[in-house]
């Protein structure tokens, strides 16, 4: 076991991938000389040189598309988009090229690119730097969407993502980079399944990414009130692990979904729909969810707190579902 931060885990995974496969390289804004906007790639330029730790101009569409082309040309690029907010400038490449080319070419071409980006709010960065777009990207067939919520997942998801013959998007919640944990290293995880992070019998809490910590904290509080909550970490937002979702609901018969995305048209809405379609008869109570309020995320601390899912909000939602 090794104690390390979420940031160190991502860096370690990048380093190991680059050591073991000469086709792997990292490119993005400030990944090299600056050391990564979140210091994820700090030190890698010195180790691997500027060809493979490749600083790019501020051209999200250009370098994301170049990553797609390089992947089709035989390399295994890791494209880092500083934050998901800026990924909107690369949306054309992600959605119109990476996600479509295999199907549209009748299976002749595939795009083995990994695109990492920071996501989430909670740092008083205002409306243009606080988006949670992972649920949005999970709308798109042809890509896999990962949301590592633990240090082990942060370290372990990259290798299988690079092995995937198709595009994989990894959303790293920026609030998690300083989290530390004692993990098995090298981390080895799959990128197919959700994981039960806490077992319980009274209610299921389904969440992912940056909301996992809050949800586990809420489960602790509920335990003190005599409520046993199970916490399911989705880990993979596309394709959804529907079996795990239905299984937890079948066990507890009640469910609250916690999602930092806005409620309308969110991944939480999709999960609810699947439960209603396939698990309706398991339910003893209406479903509920805790999402971000439908506002651009504000700067002022108290307003931002009010806009994002909170531990109290999760606890209250659970009490309401349980009629307590």
């Amino acid at each position: 076991m090794t104690v390390m931060s979420y940031r160190d885990a991502v860096r370690g995974a990048i380093r190991e991938a680059m050591q073991s496969d000469p086709r792997v390289f990292l490119m993005g804004e400030d990944v090299g000389h600056y050391g990564g906007c979140y210091a994820v790639s700090k030190g890698l330029l010195e180790e691997f040189g500027p060809e493979r730790i490749r600083d790019t101009p501020l051209s999200e569409s250009g370098f994301t598309g170049a990553g797609i082309g390089a992947a089709m040309g035989g390399l295994r690029p890791i494209v880092e988009i500083m934050t998901c907010n800026f990924s909107l400038l690369a949306l054309d490449q992600i959605m119109n090229n990476a996600a479509t080319i295999r199907h549209m070419s009748g299976g002749q071409f595939n795009v083995p690119v990994v695109i990492r980006m920071a996501t989430g709010g909670g740092r008083q960065l205002g409306a243009q730097h606080s988006h949670s777009l992972e649920g949005w990207y999970a709308h798109i067939p042809g890509i896999r969407v990962l949301a590592p919520g633990t240090v082990a997942d942060a370290g372990g998801m990259l290798a299988p993502a690079l092995d995937d013959p198709d595009p994989v998007l990894i959303f790293e919640n920026a609030l998690l980079y300083n989290d530390t944990a004692d993990v098995d290293w090298p981390a080895s995880v799959d990128i197919d399944h959700a994981a039960v992070r806490r077992e319980g019998t009274d209610i299921s809490l389904i969440t992912y990414g940056g909301s996992l910590g809050k949800t586990l904290a809420a489960a602790d509080q509920l335990a003190a009130e005599g409520i046993s909550a199970e916490v399911l970490d989705l880990r993979v937002l596309r394709p959804l692990d529907e079996d795990a979702i239905l299984a937890t609901v079948a066990r507890t018969r009640r469910c609250v979904i916690v999602d930092e995305g806005w409620q309308s048209g969110s991944i939480s809405a999709e999960i609810m729909a699947r439960i209603i379609e396939k698990g309706f008869w398991y339910l003893d109570a209406p479903l509920a969810r805790v999402c971000s309020k439908e506002v651009p995320i504000p700067y002022a601390h108290h307003l931002e707190e009010a806009a994002l899912p909170s531990i109290t909000g999760i606890v209250e939602a659970c009490r309401a579902v349980l009629g307590r």
């Binding site: 250009g62 170049a66 082309g69 040309g73 090229n97 549209m104 070419s105 009748g106 595939n110």
Partner: protein, 330 residues
């Protein structure tokens, strides 16, 4: 056999070849228009008629290991690259014998064996991908060139500028070919660009750039050979602006309100096939019998392509979700 020669050798055989390729495109496209009115081909259909000299000229300079990224107006490029006419036609029929199994249609022709990377229907969208293909070549020390075709309309897109900068900054072996036909749908170049000299934009990125008469196949070929030789030698990108004109509507939905007939007639009067034929006949490089022979071969090929498409089959609906992702992952 295609030679990576920087010079054009205009012997009789090569003249015949250039003419043959241009006529192949012209007749194939005319057939497509006809089949569209019969509703055999649906969706968007963009014809290359009038611009044949560009694809034919540029393709002469490329080798089988080079890559091609094109736009939705790419039937001609696919044909000259060697994608069988039947598989292109079958694609437009939506048949599984098509070069993209019927999933792409006219705008999305793909052919892995010929390193033909589409058929991109987002204006400018293929440019970053071409840059990335060249990045892979550069990083793997492969002496290959990626040819990227696009219209002058793309010059207004951010992806154009981002790709030009990346390719020049990183010295990537891309041949950028701008097919400047003066209109982006109905918007004339001077209505959309503050600087209408497109090659000057490329030069601003510190890239070797030149503009050529895109209605003259020999001039295009000569420029492309120069460009490709330079790219192979230096590894750096090269920009070729081919000034040309689209004789037909933008797509089959376009009533052409934005230009008058006289303008179109001026251009068709100096069309690439007409001009080259007149010159080659006068120079004695080809004879009328050669032209007749070419027309006969092409008519057979086009008829064969239609027959192949007609005889094709539709992919079972059960396969709809096939190839969204890999069937098996490691």
């Amino acid at each position: 056999m295609t030679q990576a020669s920087p010079k054009v050798w205009l012997d009789r055989q090569h003249c015949r070849e250039l003419l043959h390729q241009m006529i192949r495109i012209r007749r194939f496209e005319e057939k497509c228009a006809e089949l569209y009115t019969q509703e055999k081909i649906r969706g968007f259909l963009h014809l290359y008629i009038g611009e044949e000299a560009v694809a034919v000229g540029v393709m002469q300079a490329l080798l089988p290991e080079d890559a091609i990224v094109a736009t939705y107006r790419e039937h001609g490029h696919a044909l000259v690259r060697g994608v069988p006419a039947g598989s292109i036609m079958a694609e437009m029929y939506g048949k599984q014998e098509g070069c993209s199994r019927g999933r792409g249609g006219s705008m999305h022709l793909f052919d892995a064996a010929r390193r033909f990377y589409g058929g991109n229907a987002i204006v400018g969208g293929g440019m970053p991908v071409a840059t990335g293909l060249a990045l892979a070549d550069a990083m793997m020390a492969r002496k290959q060139v990626t040819a990227c075709f696009f219209g002058e309309g793309a010059a207004a897109e951010g992806e154009f500028h981002e790709s030009m900068n990346l390719a020049a900054l990183w010295r990537l072996p891309v041949l950028f070919v701008c097919e400047n036909n003066l209109y982006a749908m109905g918007t004339a170049l001077e209505l959309s660009e503050s600087q209408t000299d497109i090659s000057a934009k490329a030069a601003a990125y510190n890239m070797q750039a030149e503009a050529v008469d895109g209605m003259n196949v020999v001039e295009v070929e000569a420029a492309a050979r120069r460009a490709v030789a330079a790219i192979r030698e230096t590894g750096a990108p090269y920009f070729l602006e081919c000034r040309t004109y689209r004789f037909r509507a933008h797509s089959m939905y376009d009533p052409q309100l934005y230009r008058d007939k006289a303008e179109v007639e001026r251009w068709t009067g100096r069309g690439p096939i007409k001009r080259f034929t007149e010159w080659a006949l006068e120079a004695g490089e080809i004879r009328q019998a050669d032209i007749d022979e070419i027309e006969k071969l092409v008519a057979e090929e086009v008829a064969g392509a239609v027959a192949f498409a007609e005889a094709g089959t539709f992919e079972p609906v059960a396969d709809l979700a096939r190839d969204v992702g890999a069937e098996r992952r490691p």
